[in-house]
């Protein structure tokens, strides 16, 4: 797929978030860790809400987690998603104690439940964008 045919919204990365998106292209899920107190956080932010340090590093997450909640979309609110209805969005508690959202792949609707183990996989969307998805663990 080329960028000219990619119809979905693209993330507008900032210098604060670019490492997250770059990592995905390398098949890695990375999250911020405070350089001062070590606490992990996601989505990326500028300041550690625990100790207010502005220094952080990017650490690789295991990529495993459990389902916190979900929804299955039956209506496309953006033309880019019309072709893949219905699709399921998972809210996942990562093993590192932070949450993220991504689409489910290959998990039957009847299997969805809180606590279901999942793991991250990576899908190439465009030359410059790889998106995380979750599959059964």
């Amino acid at each position: 797929m080329t960028e000219t045919t990619y119809m979905k919204p693209l993330p507008e990365a900032s210098p604060d978030t670019l490492p997250f998106w770059k990592s995905l292209q390398d098949g890695k899920l990375r999250i911020q860790a405070c350089s001062a107190c070590g606490k992990l956080r996601h989505y990326p932010r500028q300041v550690c809400p625990y100790c207010y340090s502005m220094e952080h590093k990017w650490v690789e997450a295991k990529g495993t987690g459990t389902i916190h909640s979900w929804t299955t979309a039956h209506h496309a609110f953006h033309p880019g998603f019309k072709g893949e209805l219905p699709y399921t969005l998972l809210t996942v508690d990562l093993a590192e104690g932070v949450r993220m959202q991504a689409q489910a792949r290959g998990i039957a609707a009847g299997k969805l439940k809180i606590g279901l183990p999942v793991k991250v996989a990576f899908e190439i969307a465009t030359r410059d964008l790889t998106l995380p998805v979750f599959v059964s663990a």
Binding site: K8, P9, L10, P11, E12, A13, T17, H42, Y43, H68, S69, W70, T71, T72, A73, H74, H75, F77, H78, F81, E84, P86, Y87, L89, T91, V98, R99, M100, Q101, A102, Q103, K113, I114, A125, L129, L131
Partner: protein, 385 residues
């Protein structure tokens, strides 16, 4: 000092609500604002404070120009989405109590159905509150509020056994009230079966769990409680008002407890400031972008325990004649989506005894809430007299 009983809503006004107003948003807001100012018995030039809605479709300068206001002393913007209307009431009373101005106009109007800004899926992407979502969730397909909020409802269902039929009771009761109101977009009765047969938007939210997209405007005037004594209408005092933000206000997925909204923090403050209890509330206008959000707010306000919202709404408590009639105008679900300012207008009419066929008998004390985007919450308690 607190804002307890310092302010009053002294004027209310609205336009017709429709799918296609054929008018500009500025025209709609001027029309509703003139109606509210007239209702308050004021001359438009007496407005010396204006608080506009966060999308800034119309700004204070437009009102200065149109009304020929010589000395506007206070202007502000409330960017809390659907929590903005009640947040504006707090902001207005704070400015009035500080002696900055006397009569604050709070207008809200939109061509949310027909407008050039597009429907909700494209509109929210322009809102600063959606910036985090825009980068980390919209690319995955979580585009619109229905998709962002559905996981809250799903988790509530999984944890507490809440059902879609219970959510339907909110839609059905709200539709009933809209029909009584007379100025509502939805005019046909709705049953639980109709709700259950409506198409799935974002599981578990069906079409009739979702609010409308509307054209129209409404407006209120806020003045000091003292001045309100000598104004045109029976006084409706704001006994208390409070604003709160949830933990993780930029993304619902990051909320420590996904079933708890910002209003859970504001509610105890509002009840304490007003010096009233839940049993005293005779009518409540609860922000209803989605049925689930109504049920969750009823829990977070303390009208029932967390997890018991489903049985509470299905018990008939929220219907006219029930122990807590809610959304007596038809709300965002069936009257029009005026981002909750129509809820403030309706509460004032209820407390004045002007609510027509949906009038709650002898309503003297009521409550109104706002809910914004990723869970901001506002609540005001108002009383006649």
């Amino acid at each position: 000092m607190s804002l307890k009983a310092k302010g009053a809503v002294t004027g209310v006004g609205d336009t017709r609500y429709s799918k296609n107003s054929g008018k500009s948003v500025t025209t709609l807001q001027m029309e509703a604002s003139l109606a509210a100012i007239r209702d308050a018995g004021l001359d438009p030039k007496e407005i010396d404070g204006i608080i506009v809605y966060g999308n800034m479709a119309v700004v204070a300068e437009d009102f200065i120009t149109n009304f020929g206001i010589a000395d506007l002393r206070f202007s502000a913007v409330t960017p809390l989405g659907g929590a903005s209307a009640v947040a504006s009431v707090q902001c207005a009373i704070a400015a009035i109590s500080a002696g900055i101005c006397n009569h604050v106009l709070i207008p809200l109007g939109r061509n949310g159905s027909s407008g050039a800004g597009g429907r909700i899926g494209s509109r929210v992407r322009e809102m600063p509150q959606f910036r985090t979502i825009g980068e980390f969730e919209m690319p995955m397909g979580a585009i619109a509020p229905a998709q962002l909020y559905a996981p809250m409802a799903r988790r509530h269902m999984e944890l507490y056994g809440t059902t879609s039929r219970q959510l339907a009771e909110i839609a059905v009761s709200t539709r009933h009230n809209a029909i009584l109101n007379g100025n509502a977009m939805m005019t046909k009765p709705l049953t639980v079966e109709d709700h259950q047969a409506s198409r799935m938007i974002s599981d578990p939210l069906r079409l009739y769990d979702c609010s409308l997209e509307s054209d129209g405007a409404c407006a209120i005037v806020v003045s000091s409680a003292e001045r309100a004594n000598d104004m045109a209408q029976p006084r409706v005092q704001v006994l208390s008002v409070a604003e709160a933000h949830p933990d993780s206000p930029s993304a619902i997925t990051q909320r420590p407890d996904m079933t708890r909204l910002g209003i859970a923090k504001a509610a105890p403050r509002a009840f304490e400031m007003a010096g009233v209890t839940h049993k005293d509330i005779q009518v409540a206008e609860i922000y209803d972008c989605f049925t689930y959000i109504v049920m969750c707010q009823l829990e977070d306000l303390g009208f029932c325990k967390k997890g018991e919202g489903g049985p509470f709404v299905a018990s008939g408590a929220i219907k006219l004649g029930g122990k807590l009639p809610i959304n007596t105008h038809g709300g965002l679900l069936s009257q029009a989506h005026m981002a909750g300012l129509n809820h403030v207008v309706e509460l004032v009419r209820q407390l004045r005894g002007e609510a027509g066929k949906a009038q709650v008998k002898d309503a003297k004390l009521g409550l109104v809430t706002g809910y914004g985007d990723m869970g901001d919450g506002t609540v005001a308690i108002m009383a006649r007299g």
